[in-house]
Subunit: 167 residues, 3 copies
């Protein structure tokens, strides 16, 4: 492991990178609305921050609804996956007060509402994965699983949960 | 982080709360039967206890079977989700010898056997989430994901896996 | 917790056991091909190594494709699950340079592409669970969840993601 001052330096660079990249991509992180109920959007445990399943909500409504391949195109579903990742970053921003201490992305579990016979779930999830690596660089590379779901909350085409790493 | 004596005090309060609430709700935790085979119902890793997927088993049989919406009502499915959480607590009780050291709930992954077009998975999972927060209070608030499954083990309408936090 | 020299001794024994068992079973771990894209096959976080969803790929192609029960038999699906576990071990081997420091298996999340009405997902996942316990012994016992999926990447019958423990 790197000595502490180098880790701090690296972490500061990562915060800068995340903020710069979001600006370059003209992405303004939304101020997210906490879920109503008994669950929370994020929780820290040791050096990890776990984020609840995110749907492609934008300005209070879903970007698309329905099964991918029959009702939603792969391209639209990729945009939806990216939107799930943006919503996760919005919570990570809140959780860490501006990405302080964030050191990387550990895991994505992506569920894709799939029409019968649709098997391109990884392609859809790339919408989130590519976005996160674009923003974080190497530190954004993560493990993941991509699975076809029979149906998803609110008829969303994609739901993704996340685990981020913090120092 | 709180100083150690305050954490111990808080943790003792939480154990008391869990036991009192279970009594108030007239819930006697079952003595669970270990799964036959190569997997285990729980495993500790650092400050987390991971619990395997729990189905709504009660006194040796499933409370309901079938797809939610067509064969099982949302209300019954919520009761099933609660039963999954009770079974998870039964294992947590065994794992920690009476909730010693337990400090909170970190994650629920809930899979709901969903009839075509059913999109109220979060409502079903609330049966487990609300129960856990009722028992644990604030410490029970958790991250989660709710996903529709094509089919589940033993034709259960709900299966939930859990991650708990310990000191 | 055991004193450090005993833990080292135990860990050394486990490495020996894993290698011996793989030889006995005539399993030569493949040299795995890194995924193309923004995700990685494994990532270490503290004392855990997270492995991405593995499909039953062998020598560059899937061992079976299709839904379990209608297109793939339970027996073939069990072999596929075992192959997912072999592929995960291949990555764990790379990640730890020959299983150095590996101390156990923590979690399997198994998704089974399920024909309508198929409810024997746990039986399929046993193909992976039994194999891991055969190789690791007691340290291989893990928590898990088994869920039916509507469809899976590349039309695979099984996809499994893994969390391993390291010292």
């Amino acid at each position: 492991m790197l000595p502490r001052f180098l880790r701090c330096y690296n972490q500061g660079m990562l915060v800068e990178r995340i903020k710069t990249k979001l600006t370059e991509l003209s992405i303004e992180l939304p101020i997210p609305t906490p879920p109503v109920g008994s669950y929370v959007p994020w929780k820290r445990s040791g050096n990890t921050i776990w984020v609840s399943g995110m749907v492609p909500m934008s300005e209070g409504k879903l970007r698309c609804t329905g099964l991918v391949d029959s009702e939603v195109s792969v391209e639209d579903a990729q945009e939806c996956a990216k939107l799930c990742a943006i919503n996760a970053l919005a919570w990570l921003n809140v959780a860490t007060d501006g990405f302080e201490g964030v050191s990387g992305v550990l895991r994505l579990n992506g569920f894709i509402a799939s029409a019968l016979g649709f098997t391109d779930q990884p392609k859809v999830l790339n919408g989130a994965s590519d976005f996160l690596v674009g923003v974080f660089g190497e530190a954004g590379k993560h493990t993941r699983n991509a699975v076809g779901a029979a149906a998803l909350p609110l008829n969303a085409p994609v739901i993704i949960d996340f685990v981020f790493e913090v120092e």
